[in-house]
């Protein structure tokens, strides 16, 4: 076989990474290269999206695989052993050079590196760590590094990854153990969770150390995240929400990413033929927000699902919950506590904080709320202001139709 050049390898190994949902580069510690004689890069907390692809997703990091060869045979994965995709492999050096070349031109915030498993889990993990080590130590790279670890690898290697990376991810792959067994028979839910638990401890120890000795090296300052594939097994949204909230609680994850299963070339027969609607992924992210920033319990999100445990696709989960919990409404924006205001469909965290700040000053009218929110139509049935009380609306059977219809008009 002819040698592939870097560009061909890049195309193969980026293509293999395109199914991955996570790309964020935010939430790490602040650093820069001012005054340095060597090195390059900075992070300022908020990640930057340097481009957007036609699939609407942000490109913030150089997201590639070290290799797409794999000794495992997970059915949902295009790189599995039995697939006959074209294979390629980068050397650690090539990845380092590419990252730096792109970074210097301001194309990216850093690197997101994962890999198929070659030879053994430990060998593969060593290679991943070597890329990060070289970037940090040989080139004094201060940009963002996200490493996807191989859960089977030696804990010492995973620890080394945490020393160089801003973020570590360990994918749970599928929302149910049954799905994992069927689609990734060589992976084990308990080993994956074991690795997550180990990482959680290491991150906490790292935080402790830097509290005591400010000079202690930062350990995975952007924490750990995970990803699960949605729509490749029979798990419904209710199952997924419960799995996610369990993961947040047990492993102190920063993020759970959902990746709508998408048809992959050369797929295994075990997979569904069709992708789930992309909107499903979006609704799951919204439900995730409700739990992380709005104080909803997983059971409450489950209330928003239908008899099949699925979130509605035509309206967002917050509105779906509100329509089912009508006894909680309307909420008086001039009196209600923050927790209740956060439950009003159409009022985001920022708007709620603005309401609270403003009402210390004076009583708010419907026009005031209109200035603070994006869509007053959606809000109106759920709130009381000095000049508005929706007594009749909230009990209407056709409320859902009215609110959604108006939303569509609004969007047109």
């Amino acid at each position: 076989m002819a040698q592939l050049d870097v560009r061909q390898k890049l195309e193969i190994l980026a293509d293999a990474a395109k199914y991955d949902a996570s790309c964020a580069s935010s939430g790490t510690s602040k650093r820069d290269s001012r005054g340095a004689t060597k090195g390059i890069g900075s992070t300022e907390g908020m990640g930057i999206c340097h481009a957007y692809a036609p699939d609407g997703r942000c490109i913030s990091l150089l997201k590639i695989l070290l290799t797409n060869s794999c000794i495992f045979d997970c059915h949902y994965c295009i790189n599995r052993k039995s697939s006959n995709v074209r294979r390629a492999r980068f050397t650690a050096r090539e990845v380092v050079d590419l990252t730096l070349a792109f970074y210097r031109r301001n194309y990216i915030e850093g690197l997101f590196l994962s890999s198929g498993i070659i030879r053994s889990s430990d060998y593969t993990m060593e290679q991943l760590v070597e890329v990060a080590r070289s970037l940090r130590e040989d080139h004094h790279f201060r940009g963002y590094i996200h490493l996807k670890t191989i859960p089977d690898a030696d804990p010492g290697l995973i620890e080394a990854a945490g020393r160089h990376a801003d973020r570590i991810s360990i994918n749970v792959e599928l929302p149910t153990a049954a799905g994992l067994e069927r689609l990734a028979p060589e992976k084990s839910a308990s080993r994956i969770q074991g690795a997550m638990a180990g990482m959680k401890t290491a991150i906490e120890d790292g935080k402790d150390a830097s509290r005591r000795y400010p000079s202690a090296p930062k350990f995975a300052p952007a924490g750990q995240s995970t990803q699960m594939i949605v729509g490749a097994d029979a798990a419904n949204d209710r199952d997924i929400v419960h799995t996610a909230s369990g993961l947040y609680d047990r492993f102190a994850l920063r993020r759970v990413y959902y990746s709508a299963f998408s048809p992959i070339p050369d797929a295994s027969a075990v997979l569904p033929l069709k992708r789930p609607p992309l909107l499903r992924e979006h609704r799951l992210y919204q439900s995730d927000w409700l739990m992380r920033f709005y104080g909803y319990r997983p059971g409450e999100v489950a209330q928003a699902t239908d008899e099949q445990g699925m979130l509605p696709l035509d309206i967002d989960p917050k509105l779906a919950w509100a329509l089912k919990a009508r006894e909680q409404f309307p909420v008086d924006v001039n009196r209600a506590p923050r927790e209740l205001l956060l439950r009003v469909p159409g009022l985001g965290v920022k708007a709620v904080d603005a309401v609270i700040a403003s009402r210390r000053w004076r009583k708010l009218s419907l026009a005031d709320i209109g200035r603070l929110s994006r869509s007053i139509t959606k809000l109106r049935p759920f709130i009381v202001t000095t000049d508005w009380r929706p007594t009749a609306l909230i009990d209407r059977i056709d409320l859902r139709a009215r609110v959604t219809e108006q939303l569509e008009l609004f969007g047109a």
């Binding site: 900075s42 799905g179 419904n236 797929a267 033929l273």
Partner: protein, 453 residues
């Protein structure tokens, strides 16, 4: 009328000095005219005079307001200086007034600040350096006067590089230790030709998943006005145009590759834990389909009955026996068929000691369809025989009457054809014997023609 001339359009310090002086002199917002050096339009030039000499004095102002000033001043809106001044005067009377976020003036200033911050952010994101000899050079066209405030970001990030950012109004240059300003430039001053651009484009085209085209979401974050300066955006039209074809190719390549048996076993195992609808609560077990996984013909019934629920196998009760008899008469070998049900759990109403069959509803059919689709994908039959309306609904996704579809085959795409007939349990329920015989004969006929080559 007083006139203030600021030296630069983004000069926060000069605005602050002038605003303090004017406020101490009790000048009303409507009596003040703000202008920028070199901006030209001095409409009231003749009738205006400079500010009276500074009167001594000071006042405190919240940090929050100063931040707002920093954010708003770089905006291109000519009214910004005077809006800020109006806000300043209000704050002197009511120091807490900024807390009122719903106030129209505060809101307007917030929006201006937001636009400036967005512009700053977009510059950080969309500046593209090209390597020209020793130096990295970028061309960028900001909406607002943000280049000076944004310089620090690039200094912190690219401190060991030599670089220049050129814009129509102003250029900034970093030589590794200090920052210099120069006049505006033109696009040609940052010529194309960096070989790394080809690699970057290769990356951009490959990381995009054509199965998830969302052009609106892309445009929202990366409006066309930025495209001209980003090498990768030249690929967008072609990526969008080719996406459908690429996705179709991806789906077409989904061919079972020799692991159908393993896949089916695993699927059956997974289905045994299914909780997608409430039917799993009362039924004994999941009754999955059975038969050769490479069968040519698949038969879809309604749901397991009382005996199937206990046995864990489809079509073993009275209706199943009648079905076997009809198959025999039609000359069909059941062991060549893959036989399954639209809904995999028994639904019933308890009546005394008996469990009376109840029809699955649309929600249950929809929930269970997930399994049926998987079975279809693995078995990949050429023909599907639909027994009764539940099966028709499950396979076609639409509730249709049997009469309307019984006569003609339904094309399911990919060369697969479905043929509908009655469910054998219907024959068991018919009170009229003659009618039952007639319908049974027609059922046998249907089976025969559905399986004839």
């Amino acid at each position: 009328m007083y006139r203030i001339l600021l030296p630069r359009p983004d000069d926060v310090a000069a605005w602050r000095d002038a605003a303090r002086q004017a406020a101490l002199a009790n000048i009303a917002a409507s009596d003040l005219l703000w202008d920028v050096e070199g901006a030209g339009q001095d409409l009231f030039g003749a009738s205006s005079s400079p500010l009276p000499p500074a009167s001594p004095g000071a006042f405190a102002i919240s940090r929050h307001f100063l931040r707002l000033v920093d954010d708003v001043v770089p905006h291109r809106d000519p009214e910004r200086f005077s809006l800020l001044y109006r806000m300043l005067l209000r704050l002197l009377e009511q120091p807490g007034a900024l807390a009122d976020e719903a106030d129209p003036l505060r809101r307007r200033l917030d929006l201006l600040a937001k636009e400036v911050r967005r512009d700053i952010h977009k510059m950080r994101a969309f500046v593209r350096f090209r390597e020209l000899g020793e130096r990295f050079v970028a061309w960028f066209e900001p909406d607002h006067h943000i280049v000076r405030v944004n310089a620090g970001f690039f200094v912190r990030r690219f401190s060991t590089m030599r670089w220049s950012i050129l814009t129509p109004d102003l250029s900034i240059h970093w030589d590794g230790s200090s920052l210099a300003e120069g006049p505006g430039a033109i696009r040609a001053d940052a010529p194309d030709g960096d070989p790394v651009e080809a690699l970057w484009k290769g990356y951009y085209a490959s990381i995009f998943n054509p199965a998830r085209l969302k052009v609106g979401a892309m445009l929202k974050e990366m409006p066309r006005k930025y495209w001209a300066n980003m090498p990768e955006t030249a690929l967008i039209p072609e990526l969008i145009a080719g996406a459908r074809a690429r996705e179709t190719r991806m789906v077409e390549q989904v061919t079972p590759r020799g692991n159908a048996d393993v896949a089916w076993q695993a699927l059956r195992e997974e289905a045994s834990h299914c909780t997608r609808c409430d039917l799993h609560r009362c039924a004994t077990q999941t009754v999955f389909g059975e038969g050769p996984v490479d069968a040519d013909i698949m038969v879809v019934g309604e749901q397991p009955g009382d005996q199937e629920d206990v046995a864990g196998r489809p079509f073993v009760g009275p209706a199943g026996q009648l079905f076997n008899r009809a198959l025999d008469e039609a000359g069909i070998d059941r062991s060549r068929l893959y036989v399954t049900n639209a809904v995999k759990h028994f639904k019933f109403e308890p009546r005394g000691k008996r469990r009376i069959h109840a029809r699955p509803n649309a929600g249950e059919i929809k929930a269970c369809r997930w399994w049926l689709d998987q079975e279809r994908a693995i078995v990949s039959p050429r023909r599907i025989i639909l027994l009764g309306t539940t099966a028709i609904h499950a396979v076609t996704g639409k509730a249709s009457s049997l009469a309307s579809v019984r006569e003609s085959p339904i094309e399911l795409g990919g060369g697969v054809v479905a043929l509908a007939t009655i469910h054998p349990s219907y024959l068991l329920r018919l009170p009229d014997k003659a009618q039952a015989e007639q319908d049974y004969a027609r059922f046998v006929d249907d089976l025969r023609s559905a399986t004839s080559p």
